[in-house]
C-alpha cells in the first residue's frame, strides 16, 4: 500500500512539473566558445535572455574551433541539428547549407527591416548563397600588416601603398639591422592561406578568381603563378624557417620587438594590449602594380549565426528571438567589451568598449571597399589545401610556383 501511495505521489509530482514546463520552449544552441572570456560572456547574455523570456530555455553545447568544424558538419546532416549554431562565412557556410537543413533569413528580414538595417551592410553578403541569406553576421574581422610605429618614425620610414614600396621598406629594415622584417609562422597551414588569399585577390582578375574558387574554373590564369612568386619573394623577408614556427610565436616576436612587422587579424589587437611597449599601427596589404583585383578590399570575413529549418515553428520563433537578442546593440556592445571580438552591429562599438587601436581597426574595416573572404573558406577544402601545402613547400624551395599551380589544377579537376 505504501508503495502504491509513493508511486501515485511520484506520478502526481511529475505531472505537476510537466504542466509547469509545458509552455516552456527549449532552444538548443551549439557554439565554439568554450574558452574564457567568451564563455562567460555568452552565459551572461543567455541568463539575461532567459530572465527576459521565462518561456524560453536555452540549452548550450560548446567545443573549440577544429572540433567544432568537425562536429557541426556531422550534426547538420542529422536530425540532431542544433536549433541555433555558429558558422564561418564562405565555403564553410555553403557546405552547411548543402544539407538542406539551414533556414533562410530573407522572409524574416523582410518582416523586420529594422533588424536588417542594424547590421553593417558590407557584412551581409558573405552569408548569401545562391542569392539567399542563410546566416546573420555576428562579428567582423580583417587582416592587416601591423608595424612598429616608433621604429618607423625613428628610421624615417613610411607605410607602403604598393608592393614595390613594401619590398623597399623591407630592404630598408634589413639595412637597419632587422634580418627578418616580417614575422611569420606557418606551422599551421591556414596562416599561408591568409597571405595567398590576399595576394591572389590583388593580382588575379576578380571574375576568373570567383569562377575558379567556385570550382567552375581550371586555375590556369598566369596571375596565380605571379601571386605565388610574390609570396615567395616576401618569404625572403620573413622569419627564417617559418614552417617550424607557429603563428602565436610570430605574433610574440613582433610584440617583443624582434621583427618590426607582422600580418595579423585585427581581432588579435587584444593580444597586443598588455605586453607591447611601443606604439603600433596597421595598414592593408598594399596594391600590387598591374594587379587586376581591387586593392581597396580587406581580407577577412564575418562569423555569424544560423538556425535550423527542421525545428518546430515555436522553437524556430524562439530561436529567431534569441539570435536577434545576441546580435543586438546591447549584445554586440558587451561582446566587444568582454571578449575583444568586433561586433558588426551598428552603434555597438564606441570608445567605451574599444581602445584607440581597436577603433582604428574598425575604421580600417569600414573604409575597405568590401571583405575578401578567407581563401580557406571561400573555396573547396581540397583546392585550399593544395594552395596551403604548396605555399609551405614554395618557401622551402622544394616546389616552384608552377609545381604548386599544377597541384591546385589537379585538385580542382578532382572535385568537378
Amino acid at each position: 500500500m505504501k508503495k502504491l501511495a509513493l508511486a501515485l505521489a511520484l506520478v502526481l509530482c511529475l505531472t505537476a512539473c510537466a504542466v509547469a514546463f509545458a509552455d516552456q520552449v527549449t532552444v538548443k544552441f551549439f557554439h565554439r566558445w568554450p574558452n574564457e572570456p567568451k564563455l562567460s560572456y555568452l552565459n551572461g547574455l543567455i541568463a539575461e535572455f532567459e530572465a527576459a523570456n521565462p518561456d524560453i530555455k536555452i540549452e548550450t553545447d560548446q567545443v573549440l574551433n577544429d572540433s567544432y568544424k568537425e562536429k557541426i558538419r556531422v550534426l547538420v546532416s542529422t536530425d540532431d541539428i542544433p536549433d541555433v549554431f555558429m558558422s564561418w562565412s564562405g565555403s564553410f557556410a555553403t557546405n552547411l547549407v548543402k544539407s538542406g537543413r539551414v533556414q533562410t533569413w530573407d522572409d524574416i528580414l523582410a518582416a523586420d527591416p529594422e533588424f536588417k538595417d542594424s547590421i553593417i551592410e558590407s557584412q551581409w553578403p558573405p552569408f548569401q548563397i545562391d542569392g539567399k541569406q542563410y546566416g546573420v553576421p555576428w562579428s567582423m574581422d580583417g587582416k592587416a600588416f601591423f608595424y612598429n610605429k616608433d621604429l618607423f618614425t625613428e628610421l624615417g620610414l613610411e607605410v607602403p601603398t604598393t608592393l614595390n614600396g613594401l619590398y623597399e621598406l623591407c630592404e630598408a629594415l634589413k639595412a637597419a639591422g632587422y634580418e627578418e622584417p616580417i614575422s611569420a609562422g606557418f606551422s599551421a597551414p591556414w596562416a599561408v592561406s591568409h597571405y595567398l588569399g590576399t595576394i591572389c585577390q590583388r593580382v588575379v582578375d576578380p571574375e576568373t578568381l570567383a569562377k575558379d574558387y567556385a570550382g567552375e574554373g581550371d586555375f590556369t590564369d598566369p596571375g596565380y603563378i605571379e601571386a605565388l612568386n610574390i609570396f615567395k619573394k616576401l618569404g625572403e623577408y620573413m622569419t627564417k624557417d617559418p614552417n617550424s614556427v607557429d603563428h602565436e610565436f610570430a605574433r610574440n616576436a613582433f610584440i617583443f620587438g624582434e621583427s618590426p612587422m607582422v600580418y595579423l587579424q585585427l581581432g588579435e589587437c587584444k593580444y597586443l594590449r598588455d605586453d607591447i611597449e611601443f606604439d603600433y599601427g596597421f595598414f592593408n596589404f598594399p596594391a600590387v602594380e598591374d594587379g587586376k583585383g581591387d586593392p581597396g578590399q580587406l581580407t577577412g570575413a564575418p562569423e555569424g549565426m544560423m538556425i535550423s529549418n527542421v525545428a518546430s515553428p515555436e522553437v524556430q520563433e524562439a530561436a529567431i528571438k534569441f539570435v536577434k537578442f545576441v546580435i543586438s546593440q546591447h549584445g554586440g556592445y558587451e561582446m566587444t567589451k568582454q571578449t575583444g571580438e568586433l561586433s558588426c552591429v551598428k552603434g555597438a562599438l564606441d570608445e567605451t568598449n574599444l581602445d584607440a587601436k581597436q577603433l582604428e581597426a574598425v575604421d580600417l574595416i569600414l573604409k575597405s571597399t568590401e571583405p575578401a573572404l578567407w581563401q580557406d573558406n571561400v573555396t573547396d577544402a581540397v583546392i585550399a589545401d593544395a594552395f596551403m601545402a604548396g605555399g609551405q613547400l614554395l618557401l622551402t624551395g622544394d616546389k616552384t610556383a608552377e609545381d604548386v599551380m599544377k597541384d591546385v589544377q589537379t585538385a580542382a579537376a578532382s572535385i568537378k
Binding site: R73, S77, N95, K98, S187, N243, S244, A253, A389, D398
Partner: protein
C-alpha cells in the same frame, strides 16, 4: 561434474561469450565490413546521399603521390622503430640485467621508463619546443657548438618525418625495454652459469642464450612496433600535422585529413582498407617467420 549437471545448460557458455561477441561485433567487425562498403562510394559527411564510384577511389589511391610519400614515411617509421624499440631495447635490457650494472640498473630502468608515462600529446607539444628553430633546445646546442645554419627540423620537408620518428623512439623505447627485462628475468640462471663455465663471453651469452630465450617477447614487440608504425597518427599529427606540405604525412594522418579536413569520406575509407591490408599482411608474415606458439 555435479555442479555442471545442476546449474549449466547447453546455452550457458554462449551466454558468457555473448557480451564479448556483441561488443567486438559492434565496435570492430561491423565497422570493418562497413569500411569496405564505404570505400566504393564518394561522399561527404554532410551530404545525405552517397555516390557509387566502384573502384575509382582505389584507382585514385594508386596514382596519388601523397600516398607514396606516406608509405615511404611509414616504412622509415617502421625500420627505425624496429631497430631501436626492438633490437636496441633488447641490448639495453640485457645490459641492465648484467651484473656489471647491478648497482645502477634500477635508476636507469626507471629513467628509461618515465617517458612512457607521459601522454603522447604532451610529448609532442613538448618536442615542438625542443625542435623550435628559434628557442629550441637542440638548435641552441648546435649553435653553441658553432653550427651556423642548424636544420629547421619540423619545418623542413627533409627532416620533418625524422623529427617525429626520433621523438617516438624517445617515448616508447622504455616500454619495450621493460618488456625485455621481464623476459630476461624469466630465463633460468643455470643456463648462464653453464655457459660461463664453458668459457662463453658476454657477447656469446647474449647471442646464444638471451636472444633465443626471449624470442616470444621479440615476436610480441615486433608485431606491436611494426603495426604501430603503420598506424602512427598522434605523434605526427600533433608535431607537424603532416607538413610542411605533405612531406611528413603518414597513412593515418592522410586518412584523417581526407575524412575531416577535405571531407572525402569515401577516399578516407579506401586509405583505411589499405592500412588494414598492410597491417594484416605484416602480422601474417611475422607470425610465420617467428613460428609463434610453436616454441621448442
Amino acid at each position: 561434474m555435479q555442479s555442471r549437471r545442476a546449474g549449466m545448460n547447453v546455452m550457458t557458455p554462449y551466454i558468457y561469450v555473448l557480451p564479448c561477441v556483441l561488443l567486438l561485433g559492434v565496435f570492430v567487425y561491423i565497422p570493418l565490413v562497413a569500411n569496405f562498403y564505404y570505400s566504393a562510394y564518394s561522399f561527404s559527411a554532410l551530404s545525405p546521399t552517397k555516390e557509387f564510384v566502384g573502384l575509382q577511389n582505389y584507382r585514385t589511391l594508386f596514382t596519388d603521390p601523397v600516398i607514396a610519400t606516406a608509405i615511404v614515411n611509414n616504412i622509415w617509421y617502421c625500420l627505425i622503430s624496429v631497430a631501436i624499440q626492438v633490437l636496441l631495447a633488447l641490448v639495453i635490457a640485457s645490459l641492465l640485467e648484467d651484473k656489471l650494472f647491478a648497482k645502477i640498473s634500477t635508476v636507469l630502468r626507471t629513467t628509461y621508463f618515465l617517458p612512457v608515462l607521459i601522454s603522447m600529446t604532451v610529448v609532442a607539444l613538448l618536442f615542438s619546443f625542443v625542435y623550435h628553430p628559434k628557442i629550441g633546445l637542440i638548435n641552441a646546442a648546435l649553435k653553441f657548438f658553432g653550427m651556423k645554419n642548424p636544420p629547421a627540423w619540423t619545418g623542413d620537408p627533409k627532416t620533418a618525418i625524422f623529427s617525429a620518428i626520433i621523438m617516438s623512439q624517445w617515448h616508447s623505447t622504455g616500454y619495450t625495454t621493460m618488456l625485455f627485462i621481464v623476459a630476461i628475468q624469466g630465463i633460468s640462471e643455470d643456463l648462464y652459469e653453464a655457459a660461463e663455465i664453458d668459457g662463453a663471453n658476454r657477447l656469446q651469452r647474449f647471442w646464444h642464450i638471451t636472444v633465443p630465450q626471449v624470442r616470444e617477447m621479440m615476436f610480441v614487440t615486433m608485431v606491436t612496433t611494426v603495426t604501430g608504425a603503420f598506424l602512427v597518427f598522434n605523434d605526427v599529427y600533433i608535431l607537424t600535422q603532416g607538413g610542411p606540405g605533405n612531406a611528413s604525412t603518414t597513412l593515418a594522418v592522410y586518412m584523417y585529413r581526407n575524412a575531416f579536413n577535405l571531407d572525402k569520406m569515401g577516399y578516407a575509407s579506401t586509405i583505411a582498407v589499405i592500412m588494414l591490408i598492410i597491417c594484416m599482411a605484416l602480422a601474417i608474415i611475422q607470425n610465420t617467420a617467428f613460428r609463434s606458439g610453436k616454441g621448442d
